[in-house]
Symmetry: C2
Subunit: 233 residues, 2 copies
Amino acid sequence: MTDTYLHHEDHIESSDLLKDIVIGMSDGLTVPFALAAGLSGAVDSTSVIVIAGIAEIAAGSIAMGLGGFLAGQTEQDHYNSELKKEYWEVDNIPQKEQEEVRIFFRELGLSSEVQEKAVIELTRDKDVWVKFMMKHELGLDEPDPKRAGKSAFNIGISYALGGLVPLSPYFFIADSIEALKVSVGITLVCLFIFGYFKSKLTGVNPLTGGLKVMLIGASAAAAAFIIAKLIEG
Amino acid sequence: MTDTYLHHEDHIESSDLLKDIVIGMSDGLTVPFALAAGLSGAVDSTSVIVIAGIAEIAAGSIAMGLGGFLAGQTEQDHYNSELKKEYWEVDNIPQKEQEEVRIFFRELGLSSEVQEKAVIELTRDKDVWVKFMMKHELGLDEPDPKRAGKSAFNIGISYALGGLVPLSPYFFIADSIEALKVSVGITLVCLFIFGYFKSKLTGVNPLTGGLKVMLIGASAAAAAFIIAKLIEG
């Protein structure tokens, strides 16, 4: 392993962490923001809004964190069970599996001659063959066992931190509509900033991306406010 | 297009719809459930819980629906911009792009002779070549432009319907702790059922999957209940 390779790996790790933080925060900003806005339209007491907001943040970050962790485990189980199945197939129905390799090369537009040679060479080593089937027949990459858990934890924590932003004015301002005005201001700015960075990380135009994330948050908050107002009558 | 092909497409469409419904519902059951449970620990009036719950459902379904729709658009934009870039590269730096095709075949363990022939055949047709680079260098499949919007809509609606399950007892029972008991009962049963089907659709052991989804919901609700109780003092 060369230094360049190590450096590259470092780069991936830190950008993964950044991605988790940005995803968690921009989601965390949206739903607690909309919930607080909705309740501001219906209840005067900010203490109820603070309790509801914190209950939502706890619920949301656990659902995202634990959900992500268990999804990661499931992905690992799924990979292992498919791997076992492919080894069995390669051992027991090799003709059928060879035919599937041939179809892959045929679909790339290669000639019968090259298809034939590629199939013979690729199916010589059983491990290479199975790995090929996993990736190109089933579209499965070997999951990183630590990655899913860490990622879920990071997203969960970031969701909680993001959720505290729209809620913070309600800690200090007694009137719910006054608190809502401050909450709207700071949250829309934060949503734009996080949408901007989220887009940069995924290689999308950051200005459009920032506006989209801001639009989602604003629509959700407006809808929650109007609906809560209507129910409260 | 043969009848068999059409039949196959039908099958995919209906299972996609089913998947959207199950994903939306099992998520919709979780967060509104936990929010209602949290508030039940802190407020006596079920009317506040109903308002908060409906505000959350509106916020969550818009965030999921609109968020999913915009993410689908972004994916399409991203695909188109990468496609343009690959055509440019194939036109302007063909040697480098041919080398990348060669590396793909080398990593499959093919001999130099077969690598060479495969590269020549594959890079003969520019469209085939670009499509290959998109899929195997960048890991991008052409997104279905209608699919993302429809899927987001289905998930959003299912989230809202799922969210009404844990909330429904609060419509009819005046005491919040009494309503919570009924809510816990029906929601855990529904979470198990939806987790069971979610796992079946994704090819995972349905019993374990059902228990996992139920566990996530129960943990989120318990945490929200305890935290709200602590804040309320």
